[in-house]
């Protein structure tokens, strides 16, 4: 059986509100994000999630999906954390990569955005 497709739960206050290369904390008073503007693209998000690497030591969430995933592109590293829903869905943060996966992620981080979305 095919695995259900992962979704991203990009919160409204994580979405870009202005063109800052490194993103910014959002104006929606109590929330924050360092997401780059280009990460709002649905194609980029889908591609990042589809080929993300699970962090083995993080284990599984309450529904048996991988609890934490990591990926990287365009010099930015992303950590995706399960929201514990029945269908696999993930919050996403810009984060330093775990040391155990650093080598694999450095290669991914060196890709341009086009390499990700057209692969």
């Amino acid at each position: 059986m095919e695995k259900p497709k992962r979704q991203i739960r990009c919160k409204c206050y994580h979405r870009p509100v202005r063109s800052l290369p490194a993103g910014s904390l959002r104006g929606s008073e109590d929330s924050k994000s360092r997401c780059p503007v280009w990460a709002a693209s649905p194609e980029v998000q889908a591609a990042l999630l589809a080929e993300a690497i699970p962090i083995p030591e993080a284990g599984l969430d309450s529904h048996g999906h991988e609890r934490k995933l990591v990926n990287a592109v365009n010099g930015v590293y992303f950590l995706e954390v399960s929201t514990n829903e029945a269908a696999p869905a993930y919050n996403c943060y810009c984060a330093r990569p775990p040391e155990t996966l650093r080598a694999a992620l450095e290669q991914k981080a060196g890709r341009a955005l086009d390499d990700l979305t057209t692969s």
Partner: protein, 467 residues
Amino acid sequence: MDSLGIILSWLDPPPIVTGPDGVLWAELQLMLGPECVTTHQKRDLPLSVGSHEAVRGTLTGLVDWLVDHWVALSCETFAPAKRPAGWAGGAVFPTTQDAWEDYARWTADPDAVAQIATWHERHLFGNLSSNLALPSLVLVPEPPYFLIEVDDLPLQGDPSVEFHAARPSAPPWPWLASLSWAQVTATLEQFVSDCLARGRDAGGEHRWADWVEGRFRQARLAAADPAQRLQGQFGPVVSAHLAQLPPASAAREAAEGVFRDTAPGDTAATARTTQDWIDTVVADTSASPARWLLPDLPYDLAQAPFEQGYLLARHVRERLRQPDRPLDLDHLLFELDVEPRREAATAAIETAVVGVPRRRACLLSNTASTERRLQRWHGRRFAEAAALGRLLAAAGGDGGTAVGAAQGPHTLPVAGRRARAFAAELLLPSSVARGYAPTDDLQTLCAEYGISQLAAQWHILNVAAAA
């Protein structure tokens, strides 16, 4: 000791937020003693406009972070690297600002950066898990204290909110609050329990609650496991070294005290060299009245560390019947049955002390230390006085066990502050410092009392502020 307060108010979530995130949508207020550290406002507005005490959002991330890092929060007492020099008024632990700057103030070594970042993940409240806006809150245990260091968010992140101390009389940030370890631990446990109950009772999120509860049970068991606690306190190398020593032996007790204050990244060879010195002290069988063992400590742990240090120093001077005269440190050590050893030791140690009941204690002053302040007579004298403070505080009121401590850049923060205050007050009593007028000759005063001008200036300021 101040306590941690977590005030929750459950809210209806925005329609787009579902699952556990929605059920745990709330307003959260954090209190460190009387200070509300979640007080904030929209950035660039005057302080009097639109200030809020609570932050709003889902709490699932905080719960997750607490459960993931419970073992570290229970027993990982050490800082991730040697504290930067010239750090007066700065933060004791890395802050969110440091994370933005890739810990440049802490190290230039990329491997060390990764190590500090990993430590930060375990100790920066809600790091990479919480969508709540929070000030920089670093949580580190130092039983019987739980330290929480608060700082503002870095401007580089362009934060939309600005956290600030709520009361005019609040301590300036970065602020290291020393709270009760037992109370903070119980409050954090209660916070997790409240969130799990909310998930079950209000939202039907039984599956999520059961899953978190199972992980939390495992984490608490791990935190109570002696082997895991040892590793959490000392890191893998030193914990392996300590595990080879006989439990409840004097060598083990003294070594645990010394290694708690030295680098967690010690190599096995460094640990062995330090242990060799401890072993020589422990092996000394000559009996002694051990007057370094004070039957009662003259302070209460609820008092600020600097007050504890001042009271301890005054107590020692009263015993010597020298309330305010310049002090001969070697004579004081002799009177307290402490043998000073000024010799070359490993770089992990600046000064260290070991005391075994009914024996002379030993104070090691590392003559090979490359620290500049220890190259000067005043600096070394201050360091040795601080080390004596560590010995007296560690041994006070006990007497049944051996004690050890080291004073240097890796020293536990509260114990270190107490010891430095002890040293300042021992060398330059408050009664003298209070009588100093800005027109007086500081150089002569310092020469007479054997204290550096810098240390004397700080002490005079602190004594005036504490009055």
